[in-house]
């Protein structure tokens, strides 16, 4: 473990991300269009419900949640599945395997640079805009610190989900299909497209304990002071859930990756 190595990889990642600055602006613009759509969709839902509060959330609660979820999604999004299957098909994976560092560690840290850039250029501006528009609907305090910790945990969980899906693509030789399935499942069950409060009672009971929630819903709930995160007990249980899934998925991601690497090293990919 040498922090200088990791910092150096992150630094290169930041520089590479900044190099594609146009991509960042396009992302911001696409988000804007998406959010307009979300706004009118949910406005229609609230107008037709006849009450101001649906499932315990007001219209502005829902909007704040979804806007931040979108920003969080841009920030946490990884392309491990795409990158890995492309580099296996082209044979570039050999060069990655020839780095003097474990592949999983190396890949994780080379994405970190991009996360840092996205956090500063998409998440923070979105957060500030939400703060200004809602005139301080989000509490500012210790919850910001907890949110950052939860986000880092979410990042690792998300990475391990990717690391489990990528080897599946390797074995089935179908990247697009499996990646779309993964993306849809994660977005739906994590609460990134529909707040979990809107799920039917029984479905919510199950979804609450799945790992996907740990990626988007838990950090957001902590930031917004929801799901009991305003009490120590609630906070501990949310972090506990994240930590359990982090360990489970890291072990699984490791196993899956070892299978994949075995296939590559035994049969040449």
């Amino acid at each position: 473990m040498n922090p200088k190595r990791l910092l150096s990889i992150t630094r290169a990642g930041i520089m590479e991300s900044l190099h594609f600055r146009l991509g960042i602006f396009v992302t911001l613009f696409a988000n804007l269009i998406y959010l307009v759509l979300v706004y009118y969709l949910w406005k229609a839902i609230y107008d037709s419900s006849g009450t101001d509060v649906v499932n315990g959330m007001t219209f502005s609660d829902t909007m704040i949640y979804l806007i931040l979820a979108t920003a969080l999604f841009n920030f946490l999004e990884m392309f491990v599945v795409w990158d890995m299957s492309r580099s296996i098909q082209s044979g570039k994976i050999v060069l990655d395997l020839l780095k003097p560092m474990r592949f999983r560690k190396y890949t994780f840290w080379s994405y970190t640079g991009n996360h840092v850039v996205q956090f500063v250029l998409t998440f923070i501006p979105t957060f500030i805009v939400v703060m200004i528009v809602t005139r301080g609907a989000i509490p500012l305090g210790l919850n910001l610190v907890w949110f950052l910790i939860a986000t880092v945990l979410a990042l690792i969980i998300n990475y391990n989900i990717e690391m489990m899906v990528a080897p599946i693509c390797l074995f089935t030789e179908s990247t697009w299909g499996i990646n779309i399935v993964k993306e849809t499942i994660v977005l739906l069950l994590s609460g990134a497209s529909i707040p979990l409060a809107f799920f039917p009672e029984k479905a919510r009971m199950i979804v609450q304990y799945l790992p996907f929630r740990a990626v988007y819903d838990i950090p957001l709930s902590i930031l917004l002071g929801k799901s009991g995160s305003d009490t120590w007990q609630g906070l501990v249980s949310l972090f506990g859930l994240q930590l359990i899934w982090l360990v489970v998925l890291t072990v699984c991601g490791n196993l899956f990756w070892n299978c994949a690497v075995k296939k590559v090293t035994v049969n040449g990919g």
Partner: protein
């Protein structure tokens, strides 16, 4: 592993590599059948190769396309596991300790780049310095050495994606030597380069080998590379080693061969490869003279290229 001597950079003993390949069927029906097929074929890419490379040597690892060269290189670097046999690189089994092995080797694949595409070369160097944990002093000394061997300053601050193929290959070679590994693998480093760039790259490899006593294992299809760099060559074909000796010995082996060049009336040169043991060169000239007018005659020693061609063709029979 017992008789490991400090003189050996790479030891391969009876190394075999088999690949399992799915038997694909023709047509749409065949493709659907393939989905559930368990019908595998075993293809032997490398068969029973035994090879020792000494420290500080530059060896040419040659063979026709598909002979198993890259498979061997990949096994030596640790990204492929041999099916059977034993490999030791720097005294260690490469695939068992891949990450550790990687610290002690440098690799260049002529067709791919390990550099950070959108960043200036110097950033790739800095990153590799940290990744391989090269002390700053050694790093600076290495850059100085590079500066004395090639003119690196114009490319140092150029983003890799804006480089010409030649500059990029040069950069990749410099990157592979940066952490001063005892062994460097060069897989077709001069592919697609122009004559002067080829010469520059050969000079660089030779210079680095001399300065740092680096063992270089080179695969190439360019006999110019072989002539300029290698004292010893190993040839494999269809996964089997068919030649392993000095380059001089190779020429002696085919020493009775001569290349005869005849300049005809229309100023074109015709070439004949003649084995003096069986045919007399003079006879051929006389024979040809009866057919057409000859303006000039040249008799040359067989070139490495011709020798290799003969070996490839011979083994193909």
């Amino acid at each position: 592993m017992s008789d490991l001597s400090v003189n050996e950079a790479v030891v391969m003993r009876n190394v075999c590599k088999d690949f399992k390949v799915l038997n694909r069927h023709e047509g749409l029906k065949g493709s659907i059948r393939d989905l559930f097929s368990r019908d595998y074929n075993t293809v032997s890419a490398v068969k029973d190769v035994t090879l020792t490379v000494h420290k500080g040597e530059i060896i040419g690892y040659l063979g026709p396309n598909g002979a198993g060269k890259s498979t061997t290189i990949k096994m030596m670097t640790g990204v492929l596991e041999p099916t059977s046999g034993e490999i030791l690189v720097n005294g260690k089994v490469p695939y068992k300790n891949r990450t550790e092995n990687c610290e002690n080797i440098g690799v260049v694949f002529g067709q791919r780049s390990q550099l950070w595409w959108s960043l200036p070369l110097i950033e790739s160097f800095k990153l590799l310095r940290d990744l391989y944990m090269v002390p700053q002093k050694d790093y600076e000394a290495m850059i100085e050495l590079y500066r004395s061997l090639v003119d690196i300053d114009p490319i140092l601050h150029k983003p890799v994606r804006q480089m010409s193929l030649g500059q990029r290959t040069l950069s990749d070679i410099l990157a592979a030597f940066l952490h001063n590994p005892p062994i460097v693998f060069l897989d077709e480093p001069t592919i697609g380069l122009d004559v002067s760039m080829k010469a520059k790259i050969r000079e660089l490899i030779l210079g680095l080998n001399k300065e740092k006593n680096t063992t270089v294992i080179l695969t190439t299809h360019d006999m110019g590379d072989v002539d300029a760099l290698c004292k010893r060559i190993v040839i494999i074909d269809k996964g089997t080693k068919i030649y392993d000796n000095d380059i001089e010995h190779l020429k002696n082996y085919f020493g009775s061969y001569r290349t005869l060049k005849l300049k005809l009336a229309d100023d074109t040169w015709e070439e004949y490869l003649i084995d003096e043991k069986t045919t007399d060169v003079m006879d051929v000239i006389m024979e040809k003279q009866k057919e057409k007018k000859i303006k000039d005659v040249k008799i040359l020693e067989i070139s490495t290229e011709e020798v290799i061609k003969k070996i490839y063709e011979g083994s193909a029979k």
